[in-house]
């Protein structure tokens, strides 16, 4: 008898615990009636969390923003978001989206339709590339928050010793020769990952080509432009890097962070990378983990050209803020987005986290100019930048490129053709990836 009572008591307490747990999970609104908006963000230095707190406070009780952190690499962020959205998960209200995944998210119907007045408001004064990145089928479907771009970073002393005039744009050929002559390396991202697509796309675009000719098409109908003169020119740069032996150690496993470390430690005197490397170098110099003289030797200019005299098309990155189609608080979410992407927040975020603003006016802010002496180069680069292929099948294209253009040492003049054939077969559902 006592045993039975114990069992009943056990069941009762278990049910109580479960019920309280479910209550804790389920509530998206507080007792006061203020809805809590869940904002899924990419990891950063805490800048988005700060913006969330400020916007919550400024909303005067209209909403509270709760921040959830996604994985660090873009592909893993997409995986998590898409799985949740495909399950119509209403716990996502706002999301920080890499622009390359905007078309797929929008095409799948996962993004709430942005009201026309907000479309206008969110794109006014924003750099072209960032607006393009947040647009799908002629409509702005997300708000450009920050717009990243890659620069060519170099050690001033090495460039000078090599006789390079860095006040003018330089070509890949020039820096390969300079690195060879000075016995140093060029920091590039040769990892079998999305960063490889960033590099290949920038080179193809700079050589006047396009990775995808008809981005709006369905998977099987997509026409690729990798097997072209521009694609061959991109392959030649990689072949030249290998032939000159200036790829540096571990090129095939190097991402942006590893490249930044290599440059910081003197393993490479030239590097193509995002502006975060400056903030990273500065804090290393301040903390004493890197010689201050090395940091003072940091130089920067626009992305290398493919042919002398033809302006390069640097990689474009950044983050857009989208509102989920399954959010139960879409009106508040749209209000929150307008607050997040305000000029003031973009400027503060650029200073605190090293991520360049999407709004051009931010570059006139003295605090931004002081924190980022290369602000003008970033602005120039953003204006010339070319977005990565905008397609709902970006992941397939990107993985296909990473698969066939890696390792860098195996890239030949046949690589563009073989990668084009492979990706086409994958898009037609005839091959595994």
């Amino acid at each position: 008898m006592a045993g039975r009572w114990r069992t009943r008591l056990g069941i009762l307490s278990a049910a109580t615990v479960l019920a309280s747990g479910l209550t804790a999970c389920g509530g998206s609104s507080t007792a006061s009636g203020t809805p809590t908006l869940n904002w899924y963000i990419n990891p950063d230095n805490g800048g988005q969390q700060k913006i969330a707190e400020q916007c919550s406070a400024a909303s005067n009780g209209a909403y509270d923003i709760n921040v959830s952190i996604l994985p660090s690499d873009a592909a893993a962020q997409r995986e998590q978001l898409m799985r949740r959205l495909a399950g119509n998960d209403s716990s996502i209200d706002l999301m920080s989206l890499d622009p390359v995944f905007v078309p797929e998210t929008s095409e799948a119907g996962f993004l709430a339709k942005v009201p026309a007045d907000l479309q206008q408001q969110w794109s006014d004064g924003v750099v072209d590339g960032a607006v393009q990145g947040a647009t799908w089928k002629d409509e702005l479907v997300a708000a450009p928050f920050w717009a990243n771009t890659q620069l060519l970073w170099y050690r001033k002393s090495v460039a000078q010793a090599a006789g390079l005039d860095m006040t003018k744009p330089v070509t890949w050929e020039q820096i390969i020769e300079a690195a060879k002559a000075q016995g140093t390396a060029i920091g590039v991202q040769g990892q079998r990952a999305e960063s490889m697509t960033v590099w290949v796309n920038a080179m193809i675009a700079s050589a006047g080509g396009k990775v995808i000719e008809n981005p709006d098409a369905k998977g099987p109908d997509i026409r690729l432009g990798i097997d072209s003169d521009a694609g061959k020119a991109a392959a030649k740069v990689m072949q030249d890097i290998t032939a000159a032996g200036v790829g540096g150690p571990g090129i095939d496993n190097r991402d942006e962070a590893a490249t930044a470390n290599l440059f910081q430690q003197g393993g490479a005197a030239f590097m193509v990378n995002w502006p975060f490397v400056y903030a990273q170098g500065k804090s290393a110099a301040d903390e004493g983990t890197m010689d201050k003289a090395i940091f003072e030797d940091y130089g920067w200019t626009t992305y290398p050209e493919m042919t002398a005299g033809t302006e390069s098309k640097p990689p474009l990155g950044g983050i857009d803020i989208g509102v989920s189609a399954f959010s139960e608080h879409q009106d508040q979410a749209f209000q929150a987005v307008s607050c997040i992407v305000s000029e003031q927040n973009q400027a503060a975020y650029m200073v605190s986290d090293g991520n360049p603003a999407a709004l051009e006016s931010v570059y006139d802010d003295p605090t931004v100019q002081e924190a980022y002496p290369m602000y003008d180069t970033i602005r120039t680069s953003l204006q010339a930048a070319s977005p990565r292929p905008q397609t709902a099948y970006y992941n397939e294209v990107s993985q296909g490129i990473a698969d066939r253009w890696q390792p860098v040492s195996s890239v030949s003049q046949d690589t563009p053709a073989s990668s084009q054939e492979y990706i086409t077969e994958v898009l037609r559902g005839e091959k595994l990836l």
């Binding site: 995986e79 095409e107 799948a108 079998r192 571990g250 496993n253 993985q399 559902g429």
Partner: protein, 313 residues
């Protein structure tokens, strides 16, 4: 032993039999009551997903394009089985399985012998020390091995005088590190199973062989090993199944680069990265078939050995 007279038996047997049958029935019923919920849960958590995967594998279905879902029959299987990527992944998986299980069996046996022989206060210490790698989460151990062999973080290159050798840029060197980490991690599991087998070897048999003048080597081959064949087969089966599903090590160390893709990582790539549910389900079903095949082969061999272990061979 209980003895009964013939009269007792003739009188009491029908009642005893009835009672026994009732009891057996009641016990069987109780057994179902106890095991029933577990059985239902098992079917729900393993049977349902398997059937679901089988069903999904017949569709062209992308998670971000639900409207384009289309029934295509066995086409996904055709695509997979005619793709060199599948066969390459299968080859890598088989290679990792064979190499790691073979090496682990030898080292695991040696460790089991050590654990078996060590006496007194040293015994628990030795056993704990040997089991530590197995207690570490695979992802954590994979990172540890990656850091050890990595170019910037690693100490192996300076230890071996290899300079800037990039272990993870080359298929064979990457597979070598993957196998090494797998062996380090799961040898304790095999040695634990073999230790149980060693404990079952009758001491009098070994003693008799010793008295007959058998050398240590002869005792090992002719007495110890034949007597623990069943344990060895169980260890082989469990580890082979485990090794065939390898994912974490490859995911962390190379993520399939340098042709190091395995069947599990291929399934992950199609289902999770590409969100191609149909194609990914088909890869998962084929992986399941491979695992069934390993079970089938091993259990066939296992049965023979069991008979031998009972002295019927």
């Amino acid at each position: 032993m209980e003895t009964r007279s013939a009269g007792d038996v003739s009188v009491s047997r029908p009642a005893a039999k009835r009672r026994g049958t009732d009891k057996a029935r009641a016990e069987a019923r109780l057994g179902w009551y106890l095991a029933g919920p577990a059985f239902v849960i098992l079917v729900a958590v393993t049977g349902y997903p398997i059937l679901q995967a089988l069903y999904e594998s017949l569709f062209s279905y992308r998670l971000t394009a639900p409207a384009d879902r289309e029934f295509i029959g066995l086409k996904n299987y055709g695509v997979i089985l005619s793709d060199s990527l599948w066969w390459g992944a299968l080859g890598n998986t088989a290679l990792i399985t064979v190499v790691t299980v073979a090496v682990e069996l030898v080292i695991g046996f040696a460790l089991a012998m050590v654990m078996h022989k060590v006496l007194g206060w040293l015994r628990p210490i030795v056993r704990t020390a040997i089991l530590i790698p197995y207690a570490i989460i695979t992802v954590v151990s994979a990172y540890a091995w990656q850091y050890a062999f990595g170019l910037t973080t690693g100490f192996m290159n300076s230890l071996l005088g290899l300079g800037d050798f990039d272990w993870f840029a080359n298929k064979w060197s990457a597979l070598f590190v993957i196998c090494l980490s797998e062996i380090w991690k799961t040898t304790p599991f095999i040695s634990l199973l073999l230790l149980a087998g060693l404990a079952q070897v009758p001491a009098d048999m070994t003693e008799a062989a010793k008295v007959d003048g058998a050398t240590a080597w002869e005792r090992l081959w002719k007495v110890t090993l034949p007597n623990m064949k069943a344990s060895i087969m169980v260890a082989l089966l469990f580890r082979a199944l485990d090794a065939f599903r390898i994912f974490d090590n490859v995911y962390i160390m190379t993520n399939g680069a340098a042709d190091t893709q395995t069947v599990s990582s291929l399934a992950y790539n199609q289902t999770i990265s590409r969100l191609e549910i149909g194609l990914g389900s088909a890869v998962s079903v084929l992986l399941f078939v491979c695992v069934l095949l390993i079970c089938f082969i091993a259990i066939k061999v296992f049965k023979v050995d069991l008979a031998r272990a009972r002295g019927e061979g």
